[in-house]
Amino acid sequence: MRNWHLTAVVIASALLVARPLAAEPVVWSIGAEQLEYRVGEGSDIQAWDGGGFIGKDELRVVWRSEAEYVSDTDKFETLENQIRLQVPIATFFDAVAGVRFDTPDGPDRAHGVIGIHGLAPQWFEVNLDLYLSEQPSVRFEVEYEALITNHWILTPTLEIDLPLIDDQEIGQGAFGPTIELGARLSYDLVDRSIAPYIGVHWERRFGESATLARAEGEQASAIYVVAGVRLMF
């Protein structure tokens, strides 16, 4: 729970700092790109990937949150929260810096994060983050919104997590990446605020990470049918 307090404190202080700068309004947003139920061969999973921001053009405080909750075992397999400061560095790109706390059921981890976030040519939204700690890792995410119509949107996503050194406690082997691929077909039901979707989600661990998973009796790869809702307020 401590992460939530931190979020509140950071957001509140950002508001106070931001106010005197100019007449420009402070804007904010909160939502979830993914808030979904995953059905696969093993246990079902409830997952979210979302967050929010508050700030102005020159500085935004961003909260990112990701979780995977396994109903069968009543455990958070993944639970991470990040607080990042985001500043523009180019027309379409921002630099981010902040902290990430992983607090799943099992060992906790804390990292510093630096990265870039932006819109690449041909409308690919990309994130490249370097997580700095005793167990550093690199994460690359890319997302594309393909308009089938102006309300039906197909969103393919790719996420690559690459541990740079072994962290056996949490099942990560150096340079054994975890790759997640997804495709979600959504319909904008209420403005862009509420968009239910269905899709597929596939993830697979490679290299040492895969070996560690198998040693734990888990599958190295899994595929899910997902149903959920994208929220943006």
Binding site: V27, D57, L119, Q122, W123, L147, T149
Partner: protein
Amino acid sequence: MTFRLIGRALVLGVGLAAALSSATVAGEYALTVDPVTIDTGDFSRAGIGFNGASPGPVLRFKEGEDVTINVTNNLSGPTSIHWHGLILPFQQDGVPGISYDGIAAGETFTYRFPITQSGTYWFHSHTGFQEPDGAYGAIIIDKKGREPFRYDKEYVIQFTDAHPHSGDRIMRNLKMMPDYYNRQQRTLFDFLKDTETKGFGAAMADYKAWGEMRMMPTDIEDLQGFTPLINGKSASANWTGLFKPGERVRLRFINSSAMTYFDIRIPGLKMTVVQADGNNVQPVPVDEFRIAVAETYDVIVRPTEDKAYTIFAETMGRTAFARGTLAPREGMAAEVPEMREPPLLTMADMGMAHEGMDHGAMMADGKMDHSKMMAVGTHKMPDGTVMKGMNHAKMTGDTHKMPDGTVMKGMDHSGHGAMAKPDPFYAAGSGLKPAAANGGKFLSYGDLRAQKPLYKLREATREIELRLTGNMERYSWSINDVKYADSEPIRLRYGERVRFKFVNETMMTHPMHLHGMWSILDAGKGKWNPIKHVVSVSPGTTVYMETEVDAPGQWAFHCHLSYHADSGMFRKVVVEGGPRASAMPAKSMTGG
């Protein structure tokens, strides 16, 4: 004549008679700023109005009158009223932070100023997003002498783009996701259609070219999903103005929208444009005209038949339309046309086609040689760049000989007999250049000539370049790449004549509005250049206007698209020297 507030949407059937009295008069008016409910039929929401309604009343003044207007703020927060297009002492201009402090909740502020002009204007709040939220009304100022045209009756036709979301929410949504409201983006189906019409390679190249820039050819209206209103009435509520066949009817069009341009026509009637932005122009008969945000146009129509006529106003992006009716009797209606296909921006609108071309002066120079319409194909730029696969399907552009004599190659002229005249106020090859629905005359800025110049023509004392800049993906807008919050005021000297050079480097059209002093648009007409208060600058163009700096004090100067102005496309203008500001408006300094 009595001078009074006239309720909204009322017939203002005073015609010529109103213009005859010449005695100096003093009128006193009262306005309240109130929370109201905006009900468009499509949606209902809390908004802001004047005297309990949105739109507010039509204020009717007389040239030469000294007006006193008591404005009472019944809101829970501050407000203000700006008299759009009126020439007055700067303390009376109504811009919080520039003219005065605004009007606090519960306070009454007394505006006092002389009316030194005539024509059609409007007023609106200049605080936050109160104007998009409904705080606007019309102003008619009757001329001291005779108008140089005749009419038997008149109506105000005031447009707005009422949106179900509040202004604050719209601003936040646009900052969060700049295409939040754009529901006319190109889809998979458009792509498939394009591959059919021009081949896979060309379609792919086109989508790639736009994707490379991370811009959208459909980015014409940042804000969609609104209900266009005429005098507060939606298309289905059908605002109606009555006429007797044979009468000359003066229509005073005012665009009070936050973000939306309209293309206006009355099928079956020729419109004679007699005034633009409150100043009479030499009459131009047209079939259709485009009204930028915050502009006004007065036209005269003469319906002779005993039947109804539709006033049809499509938005520039063709996402919605306003509709009203002129009819001999209540309850009559004429056919409502279909909206035309939405336009698409072209590479010309991106400013990529004609680097260094001077569109403002082009008409005067007559250097361009335009002949036929451009067809789908390869587009060779003056610099030799070949752009493949541009979507010219929607273009009304032309083949052009560049000023340096280069002819653009690679065009297929077959099957395009239509002769489109060039319009220097659109980039050559622009997707935005309008054409009349009936193939007739569409008004251009180039057609406007002042009826009576207000100033002697003289050489400008200096030129100030204002690049209109922004970042669509961040939804931040600026002038010379600097947002208002970070900017220094533009300093002018009283008595000088400044030539403003607008260079639109963005993909949007910006209606630029200078407060307090006239904007003399350079339409290549010398002393007959039209006198305006809003100058619309299309993407990929350079437009000039000149201003006789004859009003001391400090003034606002901004893009009149509400969300552009608020996110930084705004400047303070300080006029230094001249009659001491304290000496002038002393009598106006009272107030809440």
